[in-house]
Amino acid sequence: MAGLELLSDQGYRLDGRKATELRKVQARMGVFAQADGSAYLEQGNTKALAVVYGPHEIRGARSRIRHDRAVINCQYSMATFSTAERKRRPHGDRKSTEMSLHLKQTFEAAVMTQLYPRSQIDIYVKILQSDGGNYSVCVNAATLAVIDAGIPMRDYVCACTVGFVDETPLADLCYAEESGGVSSLALALLPRGGQIALLQMDARLHQDHLESLIEAAMTACKGVSKVLDEVVDVTLETGSSVSKLYVTTDNNMGLLSDPNRRRALISLLTRLNAPICVVCYMAGVAWFMGLAFEPFTLRTYMSENAMGSTMVEERFPAGERALATGREFSAHKKKAGGMPVDWLVKTMQARGLEVFAQRFSRTLPFPDENKERYLVKGTNVYGILRAPRAPRTEALVLSAPCTPGDNNNQAVGLLLGLAQYFRNQVYWAKDIIFLVNEHDLIGMQAWLEGYHHTNTTGMDWSPLQGRGGSIQAALSLELSSDVITSLDLVLEGLNGQLPNLDLANLFYAFCQKIGVLCTIQGKLQRNDWDSVSGYSHSVQTMMLMVMKQASGRPWGDHGLFLRYHIEAATIKGINSFRQYKTDTTTIGRLLEGMYRKLNNLLERLHQSYFFYLMPSLSHFVSIGYYMPAFGLLAVILLLRALDLWVQLATPPPRTEDGVADTEQMSSPGVLSVLTPLVISHLTGVALYMLPIGFQEVAVEHFPVSETEAVVLTAIAIYTAGLALPHNTHRLLSGEGTEQGWKVLKLVAVLYLAVLLGCTALINFSLGFILALTLVPVAAFVTPHVPKVLSAFILVILSPACTLLFSVFFFQELQEMPVSFIDGWMLFLSVISQGILDHSLYGSLVYPLIALLVYPCWLLFWNILFWK
């Protein structure tokens, strides 16, 4: 221990520190932006820079990969200018390598390497100025850098070098002390748990002193840790490198969960309820009217590729012969007084078809309006053209009805002509069924039920002998004159179902190609959409479609196919006084073309729309466009319901009356709602059941025919319903209360909303028309409005009157206006027809109106007369 006095007698060291005193520690984190973490640390005159990269993928030797933890790679170096003598090489010498290894061991103990399997963390440390305790300074700096990189560690790693001089441990040795022959000890500590990460001692020391030396080192380390902790804290607070997640802590609640805002919103809704409702109604109607405006609609286009661009030449030559066959058919029809079954069978067989006949009979619930028949008996004749080399799995249908009188002979003639022509062609891939059905829809119903072996309406038919697999598409043909001017396409089927739009597109495409005038709803297409008359023309066309769809009845023989998921349409030949003439050969070619395209189908028609309205044949409105019109009407009901709900929830501000009201409300609540509901529905059931059930009684007692009896019974029950239920609640609960009608109205409004919503999804037109009339009723009815006027309006907007107006409107649209008396008669026949349609084909409009809509309307009637 010669030379320097390392520790003076006063207990001071060379640089004037006490034995346990540390040098001044200064540090900064995040000194470099490029590295993942970096720190600069000065401890006395020793200055170190530490940089951390990673964790990242292992670079270099893949063999170093550890599958359970990260590999730590350390590199220690000293700047050439860091020592008194200039160093030759900054790193790579023995000492540096050893130091790197020590660092590595230290950090492997401290860093939570298991969090980063198969990755690598690089720690580079450089001593800028060396003044003793290089190792510990490096460790401290690296700790900060690792923290800066955001790599989780078990704890800070703090290191310190201690020496032992004169039985006294000296903390944090400087260069002079280190080189002065002190036996020094470097210790890296995880201060919180007191674990030692690394302990290194080069010199000799007596065993007894080790304890105290380590003790001193640990104390010193803890001192360092405190400093580092402060540095980290400071860094975090200034927010220099670590981004902090700030969460707003203001007291703003969500818009609806905040009572104040909610109150404001609700009061806005209740205060402005009436104007909003009016605006919605207007907007709904305007939207609907806008649908017919051509720029707002879409052009039709063929979606099905199989029917797309393949051009074929139509060659059907035998129009004249078809007409002759038609005349022959007509003669035989007259002779047979109905379907000339034998002749048809023979003719079809001669054309090489497999021919079958089906007999059917149907007892009508009551004789229908114009034909006066109870029992319908008939025979359908159909011939199947078997496609060559086809396994009877798919078929197409062409049908023509055999109507009494002189109608439709040409259609049957053309059908037979086409059968003959088609039979000689080789390109068929699907069987083609040529069907002549007697009694229009009833025969068609019998045939379809026989083909699919179902019985939905209690009809008697003989089972079919021949089938052609699943029917892919069907066309029904109606031609009544030798020369026609235009072809009309009828799409509306049972319950407002429509065929896939591609079928209409196909028809339109071939009309364009062959040059036949084509109409829809009997309306030609016009090009002047920008003029008022042009616009009104397309509105008329669309309104006609809406009316027809809303009626829910099949508007042609095709209408019954749609239930069986068979796309079908009726093509009607129109002979008006236009100049343009088309002969049967051309129509035959048109049908030939359509069937060849349908024959090409690989799949069922499914590409295009199933829900649409057509303002003209070349334009359509898809469901996405027309539904908002209904939605705007339906939202009124919801708004009213909300208004009522709020009113019910918040008791009126009157103090004493209000208390009385609420008390009363609680007791009669359920009954006051339930009774009118039950009564009005019972009325509905009566309206549904009685007209048919009581026809015999009615005929006995009144001088009317069965049909009249049914219709008049229906009207009588309908009218009686108005008188019946509106006072019943008084019998049960005495005085009607303010709360009582509100609850009832709330129920009625929601009921109506659900009802209309469901209806509109299935049959948009029906839902929309009902919404158009019933929504205003539902919106304005209260017991406080003037009674007489309101009752009048209510009656005007009732379902029956809607039907009456629709009849007039429909006639008007068809340019066949009727006088009031005629209209009334038509109205009566429409009712009887609706009831017949329900029992014959399963049309749902009559039960819907009778069982659901009418009772719902009665509820509003009930509210009006609430006392």
Partner: protein, 645 residues
Amino acid sequence: MAAHRCSYSAFLLIICSLSRFFVADSQETTLTGDNHAAEVDNPQTATETAGQTAEQPAVEEKLWEATEEATPDDADTDKQDTSTPETAAPSSVPQPKDDFQEELVIRPLHSGDIYTSFQFRTLWETDFMRGNKVSHYRLFPKSLGQVISKFSVRELHISFTQGYWRTMQWGQPFLPSPPGAELWVWFQDSVTDVDGTWKELTNVLSGIFCASLNFIDSTNTVQPSASFKPLGIGNVTDHRFLRYATLPREIVCTENLTPWKKLLPCGSKAGLAVLLKSEKLFHSSFHSQAVHIRPVCQDWQCKTTSWELRQTLNVVFDLHTPGQGKREWSLFKMFSRTLTEACPLASSSKIYIDITDNPQGEQFEVSPATPLLGQAMVLGDRRTFSVYDLTHQITFGTVRSLNLLIRWKSSEGDMLRPLLHGERYVAGYGLQTGEIHTLMYNNHPYRSFPVLLLDSVPWYLRLYIHTLTVASKGKDNKPSYIHYQPSKDRVRPHLLEMLVQLPPNSVTEVTVQFERALLKWTEYTPDPNHGFYVGSSVISSLVPSIVAMDTNSTREQPLFSSFFPCKEESSYFVRVYTEPLLVNLPTPDFSMPYNVICLTCTVVAVGYGSLYNLLTRSFQIEEPSPGLAKRIANIIRKMRGVPPL
């Protein structure tokens, strides 16, 4: 099935006997051996025993008789030869080890259509199963021989059919087959992993025949317990070694015909096969080609067996094809070829024209006329044929080419209604449930007979087996045997086999309801809206013979032979296939709108969710709950009255 084979062999016998009498070679042994084969195969049920004897009438077939105006030509001398009964002709000529025969049957149908049926038979006396490898192939196609030995196949029947056989117009076909592809195979009982072998075999056959047979997997393979019996020798009837599958969707076209033709010894270069031009064959109403391989007896005592490869091709030409103004048919018109020679490798090469309904030539006229007539029992009916032997130069006449011409004179005359036929359809509407109706018609006026119905329904039609009803004439008809194997989703199909007695002159309706399964979206075919196929159901039966119904049958026979209805003639085996079904399953709309709906729903859901959150939630900072120590410390501090940490 044994009975089925009877019908085969009945026909086969005709061929054999023809060759015997004309060529006067030693077909005798083959013939009798074949006959014997039927007897050694002991069938399971009594009905089959009845059917087994069906070939007996064929044995006592009518010998050749010349027409009245038979000209003294070369054939006449043949006729003289044949008229001497040579029942036990000792086969002194050394037998060739393999043998090839070809024939064409033309049957004008009552509908005016024409039915042509080619049959090519290769016989080879060899044993593929023995240890030593068969390496030298002469007539037998090597590709099939290797398949037989590699996969230990005992019997293999494969058919490709385009179109549906119209039983009601055309009568029964010689060889029935369902639309699409049908494959059934009996394996040797030495095969341990039958399913694995089957899988490999289908893949190999798929390559050989250029067909999609590799689509046969466990979901369309069944093991019928009774409907398909081995047709060759051997009496192993354990249906574990049987696999049956149909692919109703398979389209058959020229690429299937070409490999089929290559299996013939002469290819399509010579013989009848020159007629097989695909442009005409696929311009028809019905096209069916088949390959049947089975072991048959080689000699009378069945000491040695030989392998029989029978290739058949059936075509029905349509009367109403364009350019068919005159009602006449000729070989050239049908096949755009005429015949000039027989296949040089063939031991027999013949054309038969069915003239049963035309004894005096009132319906149609055949030219050139042939003096040779033959009779045979075909499907319970005694048919008369004009025979043209191609091995004789005289057949080709002076122009050295044979162009048979059939000219229709009148289209009158009714076809005897087929005694058995079936049809099938799906009833009901909507995409949830449905009902499969199978109708079986027994048109026999007074005899009832049992039929075996085999139905294999894919798993995605979930059969409600409790709704199974069998009714004839409005009454419940209880099947005497039902074998039902329920399906497993995505693994195996339903298998339903029933033995039903069909009352005379009746329709028996088998109905079963099903539910349509919703498939996973990857399981849909690329054209899901086309529908899914259900293979034909198979009706196998022993049908009472028409001959027994024929009051005039005594006319051609000695009186002493015809008082009792001869048992052997009384029934014959028929297999009838119904139409395949096309069933629509509930299908998501895979088109663009479907994607749009999915996307918009997602966007709306996400947008709505966040908006709803914003509207209804309030945000607060969650105070981290202090640790346990801190909480305890705080309690203590509280008790001490010191502010908490």
